[in-house]
Symmetry: D2
Subunit: 397 residues, 4 copies
């Protein structure tokens, strides 16, 4: 991690950024009922309450405990409750049990946030420690990741309620159209991949390195809902020859016949959005699609997904950031990747198997939390992110 704000006279700016990010998390929760904070419908979804607590614990565990002289934990149990997956920092509740925790109540979680924020603010005014600032930036980026997960997890919770409740009127994050069309051609060459410079990045973006790319073409637009409906109407979900073998198993075992949140009502496709149930608009960019579906769709189009390198090289000339874009690349370490020591070393490296890289960012991504080198990753069957498809092809095609 490289801090993006180093001079001592920027203390104020840092504190303001801290408070701003922290405040954003709470603003997101404004429309919630207390009831909405609790459930964990499936194991990969976390309750809103847990997101609020966990992001706060991150600052307490990694910063306040180490840098704030005489800091007293808000509650001794919270480390156990709000540690996500850091084996380095001790025991934690099983991930599947997050939805059982009615206590501490929501109000106490807000007290916890306030307590930590007050101590953080005090600490930030008094220190210029570079390591602390690096951890601060990491913690804020971490919270921003959870802000996006908050939205996608909440959509899952509300979207599986047969009443299709509205989170916020007019807050439909799927309602975007492409601004460009056609394909961009990129020449064969050696290119540089990975993050450099002073801004923040995660460890998995480091190890700036060279890759050789053959000539390729990459679409300027993302696949639309209308194109996916064509795929459905051409029996795309029923033709084994389009699918990866594990994708075909996934389709059949889960009876998948459309993107998540889609419902065929009286012959017309609808989708649940955070603004409630809406008709699917053909011209909007497709979202909530798994890697398996993305691969089958590309096969149906006689094209392919771009690799994450092809994506990164082309990105400066592309319009991106409204959907996470499945690449054709498995999530692996860059040549020079090294895990940081201690708990933060568990942030990324240990997940580098069986997952797929997504690039770009979505309409649910927090402001300022996107960059061209960002490597998001999920298992290939997940649909609950705002994920879409950009196609690529070899020049000869």
């Amino acid at each position: 991690m490289i801090a993006d704000l180093t001079p001592a006279n920027k203390i104020l700016e840092k504190t303001e950024r801290y408070l701003s990010v922290r405040h954003y998390s709470e603003t997101q929760c404004k429309p919630l009922l207390i009831e909405d904070y609790i459930p964990q419908p499936v194991v990969f979804i976390s309750p809103p309450k847990w997101h609020l607590g966990h992001t706060t614990w991150f600052f307490e565990e990694f910063i306040l405990k180490n840098y704030y002289d005489g800091y007293r934990l808000f509650d001794d149990n919270f480390s156990f409750l709000f540690n996500s997956y850091y084996n380095t920092v001790g025991k934690r509740i099983m991930r599947a049990d997050r939805g059982n925790l009615t206590r501490p109540g929501v109000e106490k979680i807000y007290d916890y946030r306030k307590y930590v924020d007050e101590h953080m603010e005090k600490l930030l005014c008094e220190t210029e420690d570079e390591n602390l600032w690096n951890l601060l930036v990491l913690g804020l980026n971490h919270e921003q990741q959870h802000q996006e997960l908050f939205l996608t997890d909440l959509k899952y919770i509300l979207g599986h309620n047969p009443l299709f409740p509205v989170y916020r009127e007019n807050y439909d994050l799927t309602n975007q159209q492409n601004e460009s069309e056609g394909f961009l051609k990129i020449q064969e060459d050696i290119y540089e991949i990975g993050h450099s410079g002073k801004g923040f990045c995660y460890d998995n973006e480091l190890g700036k390195h060279k890759v050789f790319l053959h000539e390729y073409e990459i679409s300027k637009s993302l696949v639309t809902n209308g194109e996916l409906i064509d795929f459905i109407n051409d029996d795309g979900y029923k033709r084994f020859d389009l699918w990866l073998d594990e994708g075909w198993t996934w389709v059949n075992e889960n009876k998948i016949s459309a993107p998540r949140y889609w419902h065929l009502i009286d012959g017309r496709w609808h989708q649940y959005t955070l603004a409630g149930l809406k008709p699917v608009k053909n011209r909007n960019m497709l979202s909530h699609i798994s890697f398996y579906e993305a691969m089958a769709f590309a096969e149906w189009k006689n094209m392919r997904l771009p690799t994450e390198f092809e994506w990164e090289v082309a990105s400066a000339a592309l319009d991106w950031g409204k959907r996470w874009e499945w690449t054709g690349s498995a999530y692996s370490p860059y040549p020079g990747f090294t895990k940081p020591p201690g708990a933060v070393g568990e942030y990324n490296g240990k997940f580098m198997v069986k997952q797929i890289v997504l690039r770009g960012g979505s309409s649910a991504t927090s402001p300022g939390h996107s960059r061209a080198t960002y490597r998001n990753f999920f298992h290939p069957h997940f649909q609950w992110q705002y994920s879409g498809i950009r196609l690529a092809k070899n020049h000869s095609l």
Copy 2:
């Protein structure tokens, strides 16, 4: 079902009983946070919110819809949300999904209760229909069953929270001692079993019939915590020869080594109670024990569990009602058992396989909801009820 209140001039009494039972459910919820109403930690536990809605739906579905002229449903979706297992009355959400429903919010459930109660009160004042009154009594008994489930389900939810939250101070339902000791001898004879008379009972108690019992002895007291600790200390949970084969599998697969809610802390047994974590008192009656454990304990004592018939015959001379008592009897229909037509026929009969009869009643049972002929039933591995052990033996022993 046989109504216990028939004369027309008892309308007032009925209405008061209705309101009293309904009010009791809400009183039980007083100490809850909104958060506590939501979770369903495992599939056999229902969220408090669901209990409140489901019992209300029962009156709406079976009484108001049929007897109240021009009744308008409070909400069209509620039948789908709050039907438990009645296939006769249409679709319902999967049992495992009850914990995902944050909406309708808790407040709306209370509105629902109020709406239904107002209509019920009006209806009750205007009718003397015998069938309606029978359904009313069934509905109230149904709600009382859920009042007990509310307590045991809530104990499960709070008792699996690592913070061991208190529901109510001094509300420890496990804190009872035996008042008698020794064995009661019952002579060989033909006895009558089952319910008769005018009071309410469930269909599974009907078919009053004769059974022949050989001479036997039945304990006047229930097994205590201290005796169970002796069993533990004698390696009772580790000796295969004491256990039913499926019980032994259950012990090993679930790593069972004590009753549910028991924790060995610094060499001393503690148990979670609705009043928080407490040291186990040796002289108190044991609770939260499965049938498998009850059978193994009886084997260890060279005794056996009484059959449900032996229990019922002896019950007049026994002190009972503080623990559900596992009997040695599988849950089967009485000779003259017939299922009532329609949805209420699904109340009991369809569960008569693989389950075990419990007799008596527990300290969590609602007032007035016990009788000697009552047949409770659960699968043999369940521990989450206030269940205990009464021993029996053949006279020759």
Copy 3:
């Protein structure tokens, strides 16, 4: 166990009976290919090779090791390989692994049988020990049980091969018709239940005792294939109201729509038999039916299954022995039941939960292995035995 042959001068008779039962097991295997001895398609099926080894091990373990001076085990590993479920006599391979054991080869199993038989013959000629003789009789009855399991397990193995191989021409064990019809009325009275006298019985038949039976009627005939086809045609497998709740789950999860081994081919019902695939004959007695199906069928007929006591009391006047008949009784201990000490105590008692009693005997039961007090038992979902339905009703119906 009570030996049925006690006088010392009956040594010859015993030896002959021993050799006759043992020989019968091998005769059953004559039509097999070596390949057929091996597989275990599902966990509750044992490979033919295992049956041959396990029954032999029983004699070695319980008789030769204890009664034959200087006996040397045929192979030290065989106790580990061929112990079924006796925890008392040490470790054993997991039940699910029986189908993996290609070695020892089939030939060696026959060598094992020969070795044990030679030593048994020698031992039987030299002893008059009453205990040994009791164990001998138990061992022979045990082997007869496995002879029946051999046939039903083999039918499962061959019957799930898409080629429907023939075990023996003309060996169709489902090809029997009823010889009587109508209902038999039994008067209300106290009756005696259980085994007495000198002949062999299992421990679960002991504890002769009295039961009171109300007047009832029991069918003289078993349900036929034709009646079951009527049930199918009346949507019997699709009407939830006919089924136990767990039965309904079983039907839906396993997509059950007919008895096991039935196939609808070009609109006509066929069934796999040990003589190959055959058209279903309407007048034959139904077989390969689960308890769940039996209960649903009885419900459809507005009747019920007889209890095991009703069955036993009526049995002298019934024609039985061609199908195992599901009773309405859960498998529970008789009032005076006591487990024998040691390993033979694991024979029956530890299975007395969640299972259902079947009475009678089937066309696959070995000669001489039936009696009116015999209590067979299986879990309610099993169909692979030659199991059928006898109906009963209350007199008032």
Copy 4:
């Protein structure tokens, strides 16, 4: 696929190669008992009988049916029985059911092989069709793959028999030592990857293309048993920080504490080999290791696995072919990858997700079935192949 034998005058050579490969499969089976041909202990293992039938079916389905005028199927059922995963060519039995098929018997499978071989021989003498020859070469390579699977599957079957049977005396395929040591340094450059030339290769090796590699070092030797024992003794299987997250779950759920087939007997490590149980030799190359273990071991050494590109570039200077070597590369398509049309298109492409590339070849690989561009692939938890570890590192380390 590119045929390696094109001239018309090479018919004889082709026929001989066909017969030689086919004969090798049968030679491998010589030491088997009939019993050994049958079992399928877990779903990813196929019975020897199935390998013999499936490889034969491949020639019948893809060659004889299409190229042999008037060809009559040996048995109409065999396509159903012996199709592995080709959806294109119709229905097939479930993979998990392969071990239930005792019929057709082993002898009939050999008849099938003979029948197909005779027709193939006749066909090969009469044709010069290029497509047929390409399919022939594919079929022979396919059979060679199954020859290796035969050995690893058989090892699994026999190796999980508590008697540890010997397949062949002195046939220990784990008994190899390294011939070189130290690290090889490879310069930063653009390299060519993939297959070219006339020899046979699979479709996944095609799309010869350029990659840029940074400077790296790759070990000349494979990790030895002794080094793995050091890892065990340093608690390598117990330190979460060494493992991928899914690897750590795999270790704990399956209680993995050593490579497959290893047993600690009286404090000394032994391993099951096809020659029986043997002491582990420290200097031999490690085998039967999963990708998860390989990654944890590399982490423990502060090194990494080579990518498949690094491996291929270095391969000419390495001694390889005795263990399949886990690379750090997920199995993905090469830039120019295209699936062949029809069933052969299902050979490789549809498996390109969640699996890991292994390079090299093992002591169980059939003669002539290795090349530097060969891309083997398995899921990361599999241990049953003769898989080992070669380490790499960045030059700067």
